[in-house]
Amino acid sequence: MSPKQAAKSQKAQFQKTEIRLSGSGGQGLILAGLILAEAAAIYEGKNAVQTQSYGPEARGGASKSEVIISNTEILYPKTTRLDYLLALNQESCDKYAHDLKEDGLLLADSDAVEHVPPIKVISLPLVRTARDKVGRIMTTNIVSLGALVGLSQVISVASLEKAVLSRVPKGTEELNLSALKYGLELAEEGKKYLEE
């Protein structure tokens, strides 16, 4: 790589998007991260790196899965300053909100996260939607992904849909597509809320 190319790639790196999905262990956030990364890398042709927390903390209250999406090669694979943070519980919000960029967006569950910091926040009833509207609390991760992609536009909905279908257990495709749809609807509400 010539220095000139390097300069170019350096510039492009500043355009990379860093996302962290956090909540309690068992909320399906690892799978959500995997789906998001796969949507970007396989169906959108971008570069993506997904990492996650292992060990005791992965089972605790602030489990996390991270995705970096970029048009160029991703070198350092961990997030540094987040563009988006999904927080499904208070502990995750408290622990990770300070990792957001100044103009970064916090997407919080409106029931589980009562206290939000004074930053750009959208609170949406993610868990409640999964439980009451989709009918399965297990789909919280897919509802959240729908909301996050709807808000961030970091990848296309079509790519996300393909990735969801390829990764969810057989027989749950319809359920998860409906979860995705509800998530996207929540994003629309959220956008209005942000404009207000």
Partner: protein, 302 residues
């Protein structure tokens, strides 16, 4: 007179003289093993012999088979890999009491548990001979060795009972005195498909005999003769009479599913699944819009 049978199975020239001391029982075991292999008409090209470290394990250098002289304690683990890789080859493990039940104890019990088709010839002389007479896991309580000069404060393993408890499907015991029985038992061990142990009491006059004042090799062999009770006539003796004796013969024979054969079934299961997937994918190509993702295993949430 025709030449002795064993010569057909020994490596000539450089490998002799062997390392075994005068009066050692291990050569007798080697002869017996060769006769059993000859009787079963196994091809020398097929027979694999794996050994560890110790006096008995030196046998691999002398016999004309595929021979693998491994690390101390590990012959059963090496043999497990070899047998699973090449289930069609008969695999013999040559080992001793220290090699198989001290440093290699874990491999011994786990191979028995798996019931993998290995024939284990374990020469038990109750001592470490190669390193000069230290006590082993089968040295009796109070027995002497260079590391327990005033008597062994520990209690010994009963190797055959250990193998039975761990799940071996064939366990026999004999001694270097009971040669015709040894020939027969080794043959029977080969014939059992599964983990088959032949524990052979084999005298070590150089160390075990000397440390414990057991006399010369002939005296030690006489001890085996006088104290062995065939398991078939066990009922003729009272518990008191059996107290200082030991049982010989087939102590345990309970055939059960053998590991490499069971693994072959797993391969077949997977390959059928694979073929089905390929078929459904081919079908998918003809029908537009059909999913081609079926080959990927589902990922559970978290």
């Amino acid at each position: 007179m025709t030449q002795p049978l064993v010569l057909n199975y020994l490596r000539a020239k450089k490998q002799f003289p062997h390392v075994w001391c005068p009066g050692c029982g291990h050569g007798v075991v080697m002869g017996s093993l060769i006769r059993a292999i000859d009787k079963l008409a196994l091809s020398k090209d097929d027979v694999v012999m794996v050994s560890g470290i110790g006096c008995s394990s030196r046998m691999t250098a002398y016999v004309d088979f595929n021979t693998l002289h491994t690390l101390h304690g590990r012959p059963i683990a090496y043999a497990t890999g070899l047998k699973l890789a090449r289930p069609e080859l008969p695999v013999i493990v040559i080992t001793g009491d220290g090699d198989a039940t001290a440093i290699g104890g874990n491999h011994f019990i786990h191979a028995a548990r798996r019931n993998i088709d290995l024939t284990i010839i374990l020469m038990n002389n109750n001592i470490y001979g190669m390193t000069g007479g230290q006590v082993s896991p089968t040295t009796p309580y109070g027995g002497r060795g260079s590391t327990a000069k005033s008597g062994n404060p520990e209690h010994p393993f009963d190797i055959s009972q250990l193998a039975i408890a761990a799940g071996a499907s064939f366990v026999a015991r004999t001694t270097a005195y009971h040669v015709p029985a040894m020939d027969r038992l080794i043959q029977q061990a080969f014939e059992n498909k599964g983990f088959s142990l032949v524990e052979i009491f084999s005298q070590c006059p150089t160390y075990e005999g000397k440390w414990n004042k057991r006399g010369d090799a002939a005296t030690m062999l006489k001890y085996y003769k006088d104290n062995a009770i065939p398991v078939t006539s066990k009922s003729k003796y009272s518990e008191e009479e059996l107290k200082d004796k030991f049982l010989i013969g087939i102590l345990h024979h309970t055939p059960k599913a053998e590991f490499t054969a069971e693994y072959q079934k797993i391969i077949e299961k997977y390959q059928i699944k694979e073929q089905m997937t390929q078929l459904s994918q081919q079908k998918g190509k003809n029908e537009p819009e059909a999913s081609s993702k079926e080959s990927e295993s589902p990922v559970s949430e978290d």
